[in-house]
């Protein structure tokens, strides 16, 4: 009897507490605001990793509003892209948590997530106190959320700085040469457009493919030419190196043949050089990340002004298969809990649907579908139209995202540039890369089955 009463009381108490909790949750949901959510973290300072690119300058323009709303102070460190991973890996492995808001390139997510360097976001997205009821993860372009933010079906970051490879071209130069529209295929670009647009004596060239050694060579130059021709670095199913396949060889040979229509020294061209060459009227076409639209439209940097136009990348026999790249913002697993929560609030806010259009207007490229449905945005930012088209038919494994990519990228960057310079033939270079890739993937345990084939 006594026991029954006790149990009854216990159940009653539990029910009341439960109801109270539910009620609290209910009201929290009804009245959720970032200001309320941030109250426990007001005065917290968090540090974000920035690149010297338009999306980060755009974030800086929106920051004062966030700081005013939340009392959270967001500081930043601008790191050159080529050194970002180095700095972050050292920060992660030393557990010093210098950076709370971690910038993750699409090709780093496998490494960061598999090593436990990023905090899984579920902890925050399921916390009603922190999670914005309007978070709406399905409002992101699926390809961006999956590629930049997800590893092994777990969410580690929200897409923040998003790129699609686009064809930027000088409309006036094309018209002068008798072309009303940009090339639809790579073949057209090489056989019809390039000869008419190249005049080496006048220092004028049809096309520039940024190919400087580094990720620029491996991603922007090498991988870009593989996919449209049906080639790939590795076989999607077996993970066997695939550069000697007929299609891969065709793509790489095409790149080699196209070089006569590119400025000399193209192997020293990074993004800036390519963008500059178009801006200065030295080349007629470049394939470049959508993120550089801001720089290309900046009258202080560009001579070509209204002549600038944009389209999707040309198609190959296998379709468009344009470049995909970009960064998510995630949370450093070594940061303390308060900073993690503050960092989450910042990431959620800056990538939110509510801020998406502001972010675009400030020069960023949002990953939210809703932003680009707006005709006003489409008119003001014409590049977003081909970009959305590219994302809708994008190639999520443009570069493998597994932890072994950085080591492979180094090999491709080196031998890929040597290939372009003619120091090694296309076939021999591909053989060399294949051997190294096989070595790296064997060591990682993909072939023995020790590691699941994720990319």
């Amino acid at each position: 009897m006594k026991n029954a009463v006790k149990i009854g009381v216990a159940v009653g108490v539990a029910a009341i507490t439960g109801a109270a909790l539910l009620g609290a949750q209910g009201t929290a949901q009804a009245t959720w605001s970032v200001t309320e959510a941030a109250k426990p973290y007001a005065g917290t300072t968090i540090k974000a990793v920035y690149l010297d690119r338009p999306g980060y300058k755009a974030a800086d323009k929106l920051l004062p509003e966030f700081e005013k709303l939340t009392g959270i102070k967001v500081t930043s460190e601008v790191i050159p892209y080529e050194n970002t991973r180095e700095k972050m890996v050292l920060d992660f492995t030393s557990k010093s948590a210098t950076y709370d808001v971690a910038l993750t390139d699409v090709v780093w997510i496998g490494e960061y997530a598999a090593n436990g360097w990023l905090a899984p976001l579920e902890k925050f997205t399921k916390d009603p106190k922190l999670a914005d009821p309007a978070l709406n993860l399905s409002g992101f372009f699926p390809i961006l959320l999956d590629s930049f933010g997800t590893w092994d079906k777990k969410l580690y970051g929200l897409p923040f700085d998003n790129y699609a490879g686009l064809l930027f071209y000088n409309r006036c130069m094309l018209e002068k040469a008798g072309f009303k529209a940009p090339p639809k295929t790579w073949d057209e670009l090489m056989t019809k457009y390039a000869p008419k647009l190249t005049n080496a004596k006048a220092g004028q060239y049809a096309y520039a493919l940024q190919s400087r050694r580094g990720e620029t060579q491996s991603a922007d130059s090498f991988m870009r030419m593989l996919w449209p021709f049906g080639g790939s670095l590795i076989d999607a199913k077996t993970f066997e190196p695939n550069l000697l396949s007929v299609a891969s060889q065709k793509g790489l040979q095409f790149r080699q043949d196209l070089m006569k229509y590119m400025p000399p020294g193209i192997v020293d061209y990074d993004h800036n050089e390519a963008v500059n060459a178009l801006n200065q009227g030295k080349v007629a076409m470049i394939t470049e990340w959508s993120a550089f639209n801001g720089t290309l439209n900046d009258p202080k940097a560009s001579k070509i002004g209204k002549c600038l136009a944009v389209a999707t990348e040309p198609a190959g026999p296998a379709g468009i298969k344009g470049a995909l790249g970009g960064f998510s913002y995630g949370i450093n697993a070594s940061s303390d809990e308060k900073k993690q929560a503050a960092a989450y609030l910042f990431i959620q806010w800056i990538t939110s649907e509510a801020k998406a259009k502001d972010y675009v207007r400030a020069g960023g490229v949002s990953a939210r579908k809703s932003a680009y449905n707006d005709p006003a945005i489409q008119r003001a930012y014409p590049f977003t139209v081909p970009m959305v088209k590219a994302w809708n038919q994008g190639n999520p494994v443009f570069r493998p995202r597994f932890p072994e990519w950085p080591a492979i990228s180094e090999i491709v960057a080196q031998i890929g540039t040597e290939m372009m310079l003619g120091k090694v033939s296309v076939k021999d270079g591909a053989t060399q890369i294949n051997t190294k890739v096989k070595e790296i993937l064997t060591k990682a345990g993909y072939y023995s089955g020790a590691k699941p084939k994720l990319q």
């Binding site: 050292l90 492995t93 490494e111 090593n115 400087r212 000399p264 180094e410 080196q414």
Partner: protein
């Protein structure tokens, strides 16, 4: 008894600092070089693996390529820097305008005092194919613009040029100091015997130059063996591997692939090469100096 202890006490701070900043990291590097040590792959563990890292470095054709390139770079730059530096020193030493000498000394220090990363940036701008100074000079003589940093041979030349620009003054200043050490009376006595400039230089001045020269050669060789910043900024080792000196390759393995075990083995092998070269310099030049 007390004396020894005092002496030790006075030496202690210096020894301690040296041990902390020199010996300890070296031992750590040796330790790392004998382990599986990839910090980006903590799941592989950090076990001892004996000489496996050294074996894989010995089998790595790119490492030997980079080492060979570094030796080629040494041969391209050091003799040139020495010749130019000596020329400048002799010109400055044998003229009678103290003001010019003072001004020249200051001017010589400027490249030396420039941060290597900035030297790299100056190089990148100077050899830019569109706006660079080098191409301005080329077009002045009616030549066509050259893609200096996009051509493997020219890129190495451009990097060597910047290295020579920065470090020739070092040779010049040390040689100038050594020349001031030549006793005036000995030089004057020799001028009574001969007026052939070459003999005066060879038998009176040259012996005084040797100790300084040996020191400079050792320092400069060690510098080139670890030359990194300016080249990294200027070409990032490219195009291809055209300017990938051994230090850039080591950094790439250590901080991009993050295989610090292999990188430590490479660094220690480079250290051994540097020590061997230093011993060689001392043998060749010091014997002559004392003879």
């Amino acid at each position: 008894m007390w004396k020894t202890r005092d002496r030790n006490l006075f030496l202690a701070p210096a020894v301690l600092v040296l041990a902390l900043v020199g010996v300890a990291p070296l031992l750590f590097a040796v330790n790392v070089s004998l382990r599986q040590f990839n910090i980006a792959k903590p799941s592989l563990g950090f076990e001892w693996n004996g000489f496996a890292n050294y074996v894989s470095v010995f089998q790595d054709g790119y490492f030997w390529g980079a080492l060979g390139l570094t030796v080629q770079f040494l041969l391209m730059t050091i003799p040139l820097q020495f010749a130019l530096g000596l020329g400048i020193a002799l010109l400055l030493h044998h003229q009678d305008w103290p003001l010019l000498r003072a001004l020249a000394r200051v001017a010589l220090v400027i490249p030396l005092a420039t941060t290597p990363a900035v030297v790299g940036l100056i190089g990148r701008l100077g050899f830019d194919s569109d706006f660079g100074l080098a191409n301005w000079v080329v077009t002045l003589f009616g030549g066509a613009k050259i893609a200096w940093l996009g051509d493997p041979n020219l890129a190495l030349f451009a990097v060597a040029f910047m290295e020579t620009w920065q470090w020739t003054p070092f040779f010049a200043l040390v040689m100038l100091a050594s020349l001031s050490a030549v006793p005036q009376d000995a030089f004057e006595a020799a001028t009574l015997e001969t007026d052939r400039r070459w003999l005066l230089f060879r038998y009176v001045e040259w012996p005084y130059l040797l100790p300084g020269l040996t020191a400079v050669l050792i320092l400069r060789t060690a510098d080139v063996m670890k030359l990194f910043d300016s080249v990294y900024v200027m070409t990032r080792g490219g195009p291809g591997s055209a300017t990938e000196l051994v230090s850039l390759y080591t950094q790439r393995i250590g901080f991009r692939v993050f295989d610090q075990g292999i990188a430590a083995a490479m660094a220690l092998l480079s250290l051994i090469v540097t020590i061997l070269l230093a011993r060689a310099y001392i043998r060749i030049f010091y014997r002559e100096a004392t003879a």
